[in-house]
Amino acid sequence: MRSMNQLGNDLYTGKTSFPFVGRRRLWFVIAAILVIGAALVPFVRGVEFSIEFTGGSQFTVSNVATPDQAAATDAVQSVVAGATTKVTTIGEDSIRVQTDQMTDAETRAVTAALAETFDVTTDEVSSSFIGPSWGQDVTRQSLWGLAIFLALTFIILAVYFRTWKMSVAAIIGLVDVLVITIGIYSLFGFEISPAAVIGFLTILAYSLYDTTVVFDKVRENTHEDGEQSGRTFGESVNLAVNQTLVRSINTTVVAALPTGAILFIGALWLGAQTLTDISLSIFVGTIVAAYSTLFVAAPLYSLLRENEPELKARDARILEARERSLVSA
């Protein structure tokens, strides 16, 4: 196996080259399948929204000696007969009970009943009551944030790179990332919670960040090559993506390691919902973001630019010159 250094060298000189641009039809077909698949997941599996979105009450009892789920249900039923309850054990000594939305008085009564059942003080019982419109408010605001952020990013990238086509490619790549990430997230059967929404918003920022780093190298290559280049536009883009490939791999690993750590600890040990939801969405998202930059955004950019008359003429000239040199050799 070649070392990372050797791979980096070969990618840099072009000795090894992955056809990100050359085989783009294949990559686009794969991306389309992934996006459609991800979009279908919610229909097949059904998406569960956390009580922040549906409204409801949630109780968490800490320091429980024996987390008996049936006892928890009984405690709730003793206050509100027939209430829908969902009980989960968290870690070794905590128990979480989710119920229909309760009134303030009922919430307090259930808190007391749970405390008595599990022989703890009421201070150890955390309770939340969430009105059904709260989650929707958060989502609506997030969508606004998304729209404004995208518009501003579009402008900044277009100004910096001096072509709106990079903005378009970056943002299409971003949509790709979001759809696939949300699809995978719901495939795991996780509830969509506000923490998950935060995760998706982070992925948004990360995905554009990642694409920008690679696009900056593309800009450098295509810009510096100029008229004297022996490469077609597509080849220049492809070389740039290959030259930053080692960085893309390293960055993805480094970004995925800490989130993976949170995910692992949160999910396996003690189950802090906020942390697991955030870290799963980010963990999946960073990996998908790297994929999308390489296989969707970069080839798409090349596709958008190649048909510009100027570049088309230059590419034709280069290919013709290459043909001649091959013949003469």
């Binding site: 000795k15 419109s133 800490p258």
Partner: protein, 571 residues
């Protein structure tokens, strides 16, 4: 020998970083020791230290969106209520246009909840009786004695049916005894929720006077405007009120009734949330619905009263959107998980950096350490200056940014390696790699900062905490990149270990396939590895020629070689 410029530049940048760190620590030390308000530990949000958060939505009667001024007013009313219930260290903020977030340590009892949730209303009541706030008297024995709790046998029903709001027959024996014993500072008193059609015992908002007031005669909705301005006759600050049509008529009648009564029954009280804002006396009969309140106002106090009357005029009701109480145990558990996960994440990143970048990995680790110190102290200072509290989402934000931060170093190191591959010397590669990496870092990090700012402005409290830490750490990241990573690389590039390209340094030109190996030693470029004997000959002669080439020519040749190789790769 004169020190070369990059070295001097590097030392200057590092000194700058040390000074900056010292200043930050100094500021926090000032906060801790001189002001006694800051702390050496960042403030924790509710979900990490336990407590109760109630999110209220403020609604106007006609369903329209409350104005920002009304929201500020509403928040200050809620703050007053929470303070009145004796809860310490409450944090009350507004968000998203019509929401008020109340955070209090510990659990909120039923009484506090009810008090917080009740509607805010401005009432106008006639004054029946007023006195100093004392609830004690000096007895015949010369000792100060509190007034006794009213006897339940005292009559509580008016002996004669009161004819209007100023009728003293409202004041029954029981009410008067209660008034005498009334303590303005007792948290158990809750004048905000007393019935409107009954007389009310309450106090001036600052506790300086206590009153018995008649039943509500007008409410805030009949005030259409309130402004402050200078009285044209005596040049004093005054508050001008404008009543609407119906309000003017009612106020006219009241004014006719009150004018000429003995003090304090000629006074009229504006009551907001159960407390008297102002109780001016009626100095004239006002029939046009435009009374003016004068007195010992300053510009500021007249403005405050005008705002209170204006924005308190619309009765806001509060609906609980969500209420969240987290036990201290759950809070510390979540913090612990966050910290453990963060440490494991850091250790993994450090390990990976060392494997991939060898000794250079230690620069990443050192940069992350500097980052950690700066972030920590800035969180302390922000907790003091801006009331920033670290939430669970914020901790997640910090952990996630470990990856983001490390990326700026990865981008830089890869650029240095690229420059080495181009055949630059190590010191040259450090400078040129910096020139290129810095552009990439600036543009990509500004996208991150943009995301943080947009999220911070638009999102709700949970997301805000996350966006804030993301933004702060990105800014610190750029700072460290300029003031630490680059100068350290400049200095390391001049050491034997790194500058000589030791195999373990991560900067070994040979391992990186460089064409140029320092001190005018060359070897054949990797890309020119030939396949046929003819090509091999060509490559040898090319290597021969390269020894005589200028840098520019060499670069050109290299590019040509690259493009050939690319073509091979594509085929």
């Amino acid at each position: 020998m004169a020190t070369p410029t990059p070295v001097r530049h590097a030392w200057r940048a590092l000194t700058g970083l040390i000074v900056l760190t010292a200043v930050l620590f100094g500021i926090n030390a000032l906060g801790v020791y001189a002001f006694g308000k800051s702390s050496w530990v960042p403030e924790l949000a509710l979900d990490l230290q336990g407590g109760t958060q109630i999110i209220l939505e403020a609604n106007t009667p006609d369903g329209s969106q409350p104005s920002p001024e009304q929201m500020d007013q509403a928040a200050s009313i809620i703050r007053q209520r929470v303070d009145a219930s004796g809860v310490g260290e409450a944090d009350i903020t507004t968000q998203a246009g019509n929401q008020i977030v109340v955070q209090i340590p510990g659990q909120a009892d039923e009484e506090t909840r009810n008090r917080i949730e009740s509607a805010a209303q401005l009432q106008l009541r006639a004054v029946l009786y007023s006195s100093a706030p004392a609830n004690t008297y000096v007895g015949e024995d010369g000792n100060t004695t509190p007034y006794p709790t009213p006897e339940p046998t005292l009559n509580a029903v008016p002996t004669a049916e009161p004819t209007d709001g100023s009728d003293v027959s409202w004041v029954t024996d029981a009410l008067y005894a209660e008034f005498l014993a009334y303590d303005c500072n007792d948290d158990a008193n809750d004048p905000a929720n007393e019935p409107a059609d009954q007389p009310l015992i309450t106090c001036e908002a600052d506790g300086s006077i206590k009153y018995i007031l008649g039943p509500v005669e007008l409410d805030g909705s009949s005030i259409s405007d309130a402004t402050n301005g200078l009285n044209s006759q005596n040049g004093q600050w005054a508050v001008n009120i404008v009543f609407d049509g119906e309000g003017s008529e009612k106020f006219g009648k009241i004014s006719q009734r009150l004018y000429g009564l003995d003090s304090p029954r000629n006074q009229f009280a504006f009551v907001l949330d159960g407390l008297v804002l102002s109780a001016p006396s009626m100095n004239a009969v006002i029939l046009d619905g435009k009374p003016q309140i004068t007195g010992s106002f300053s510009q500021e106090t007249s403005k405050t009263l005008a705002d209170q009357l204006k924005y308190g005029a619309l009765p806001l009701s509060f609906e609980v959107q969500s209420s969240n109480s987290i036990s201290a145990t759950l809070g510390s558990q979540q913090l612990q998980i966050g910290l453990i996960a963060g440490l494991i994440g850091l250790a993994l990143v450090a390990l990976y950096s060392l494997i991939v970048y060898r000794a250079l990995g230690s620069v990443i680790i050192a940069s992350l350490a500097v980052m950690g110190v700066l972030t920590y102290i800035i969180l302390c200072i922000l907790g003091w200056r801006m009331g920033f509290r670290l939430s669970l989402a914020g901790v997640a934000g910090l952990i996630v940014t470990i990856g983001f931060t490390a990326d700026s170093f990865i981008v830089y190191f890869e650029r240095i390696r690229d420059e080495l591959r181009d055949g630059k010397s190590i010191t040259g590669a450090v400078e040129d790699g910096w020139g290129r990496a810095k552009r990439t870092i600036y543009i990509s990090k500004s996208i991150n900062i943009l995301a943080a700012v947009v999220l911070y402005i638009l999102a709700d409290a949970t997301v805000k905490g996350f966006a804030f830490t993301l933004g702060i750490t990105t800014a610190i990241d750029i700072l460290i990149f300029i003031l630490f990573t680059h100068p350290v690389m400049q200095l390391l590039g001049r050491t034997r270990f790194f500058g000589g390209g030791h195999p373990l340094s991560g900067l070994d030109p040979e391992a990186l396939g460089a064409v140029y190996r320092g001190r005018a030693q060359f070897r054949a470029p990797v890309a020119a590895v030939a396949k046929t004997p003819a090509q091999r000959r060509a490559s040898r002669s090319r290597a021969e020629a390269e020894r005589r080439q200028t840098i520019a020519e060499r670069k050109l040749a290299q590019q040509a070689a690259d493009s050939r190789a690319t073509k091979e790769g594509d085929d």
